[in-house]
Amino acid sequence: MAFELWKGNEAIAEAAVRAGCRFFFGYPITPQNEVPEYMARRLPEVGGCFLQSESELAAINMVYGAAGAGARVMTSSSSPGISLKQEGITYMAGAELPAVIVNVMRGGPGLGTIQPAQGDYYQATRGGGNGDYRLVVLAPNTIQEAVDLMQEAFDIADCYRNPVMLLADGMIGQMMEPLEWHEPERRELPPKDWAAAGLHGRGSHNIINSLFIDPLACERHNNRLQEKYRLMEQRELRFEERGCEGAEVLFVAYGSPSRIVMSAVDLLAAQGVKAGLLRPITVWPYPYERLAALSREPSVKAVVAVEMSAGQMLDDVKIAVGGCKPISFVGHTGGVIPTQHEIAAAALAALGR
């Protein structure tokens, strides 16, 4: 296969089409506008339907309808728009509907800025809407990884009948990188005989619903959902380790900052300091066990979390490390990007050098 140069947002959209997504509902917001724009051109070519909705809120409800009717469907937005979508996402989790939601993160809170950030980690991994639910959250750090994950995301969603989020940031959305299109491993998926697609001779009608007004019925439903999320935790965890063997400094970072960390690792190596990186690829499920084990390695003297936020994944780092090693944090909000120099300096400071 040949390498092709693609812009992140457009690649993500094309990956969805290759995964069989034929319906897109969304609303313009920077820095992800190329996603709906690409879908507007591309979906009619494959007999799909692109519709620009009147708001992000309307879009996620259109996704709910299309998913409930049995289709492969997605939406995309950026931070403030994802806030609007929380209603639809919790309804979809409750009604057990599959779909892919792409968040190309920008600075916040509120309107914030259009520059890249990672300030939606809590929202994505703690379930930003009401109630007890989880999404599998995929966090690529290259455009190649974004398209690979995106192609799998729809299968993951269908496998569990649950929404899946692709958590990117404005850098990944806007930059261009070479990539190769791979055919992803397809999962064995059950037919969507639960969908509200019309009786067509079926004996009993299908209802798509998240309301279980009787408390015992609602708890039974919740227990079933929790069982599903446990399965996701067992089966969908992904992470990457780089140079952790014998490392003094253990970096933890996901998305774009993880690449800057690798530059910091090189700077530290030049100064004789061995540093490694644990990079979550799913931020839910989170690699707690692996991080706990790595941080307990005798060589590790300091754990350094790097995020483009005030420190949200930092909570999960603290949970995993469990106080066994000191934890430092390097981060910027407001769309400011940390540099490899300040990351390396923070690591040295954590080592007391």
Partner: protein
């Protein structure tokens, strides 16, 4: 023996939970009868609201989706775009459609979304215990307008049949009532026309039904039906406000 009237096959066997004399039961029947008569039960997909009729998914025999409050037109849009050959309808109350869902209904009409919306207007919020609705009449007392709706404070009632008649994507818009048999017969004709025009691809179709809420109006069912006729009809006139077939003939 010839059957003059029996319960529609498009309704399930589940007993309705609505209050005695609530118009929901009547309107459910009219929609069900139309679906049955047009042969649509097998293909139809309905979207129900949040409100007293939140459980409508248990009462209609076709496939149903529960929507978030006000979002039924957006959910229906998703459904209809996936299944353009299926009859798709939303069933919504006045809080759902005219308050929180105002954006969604207007835009569905603007897009000429080929769906049918049944709008149950009883000028009050039923399920939550009688608060003011966008369609509450001036002077009408509700739990959140205890001294009567004051237009200088919060305006007057929203006229959805007139509002949507101004939208080009709306193919058929009519306001009806069900307080007596002649009105009920007209309501059924309107609903039938709306579904027929949806399936002809004419555009967005909408039927507003003036309805009773005996419990929250503090009236008996018969008094409530009288109140619709005497108090609501002068404010919300019955009739067709938009018919694209007549526009084309001009």
């Amino acid at each position: 023996m010839a059957i003059v009237y029996q319960k529609s096959k498009a309704l399930t066997d589940k007993e309705l939970h609505y209050c005695p004399g609530c118009s929901h039961g009547i309107i459910h029947k009219l929609v069900a009868e139309v679906l049955e008569e047009l042969g649509f039960i097998d293909a139809a997909i309905g979207i129900c609201p949040v409100g007293c009729s939140v459980f409508a998914y248990d009462y209609f025999a076709c496939d149903m989706l529960e929507a978030a409050h006000g979002r039924a037109p957006a959910v229906a849009t998703g459904v209809k775009r996936v299944h353009p050959q299926s009859p798709v309808f939303t069933y919504q109350g006045d809080g759902d459609l005219a308050s929180i869902g105002m954006g969604e209904i207007i835009h569905a009409a603007i897009r000429g979304e080929k769906i049918t919306t049944i709008f149950v207007n009883n000028a009050i919020y039923g399920m939550t215990g009688g608060q003011m609705a966008p369609t509450t009449l001036i002077g009408q007392k509700t739990t959140t307008s205890p001294l009567g709706r004051d237009p200088s404070h919060c305006g007057g009632p929203a006229h959805m049949a007139e509002l949507l008649a101004a939208v080009e994507g709306a193919a058929y818009v009519e306001r009806v009532a069900v307080y007596d048999i002649p009105r009920l017969n007209q309501a059924k004709r309107a609903i039938k026309t709306a579904f027929e025009m949806q399936m002809q691809g004419a555009g967005f179709t909408f039927v507003e039904v003036l309805s009773s809420c005996p419990t929250n109006w503090g009236k008996t069912p018969l008094e409530a039906a009288e109140w619709v006729r005497e108090q609501m009809v002068p404010v919300f006139p019955l009739g067709v406000t938009r018919d694209i077939r007549k526009e084309a003939a001009k």
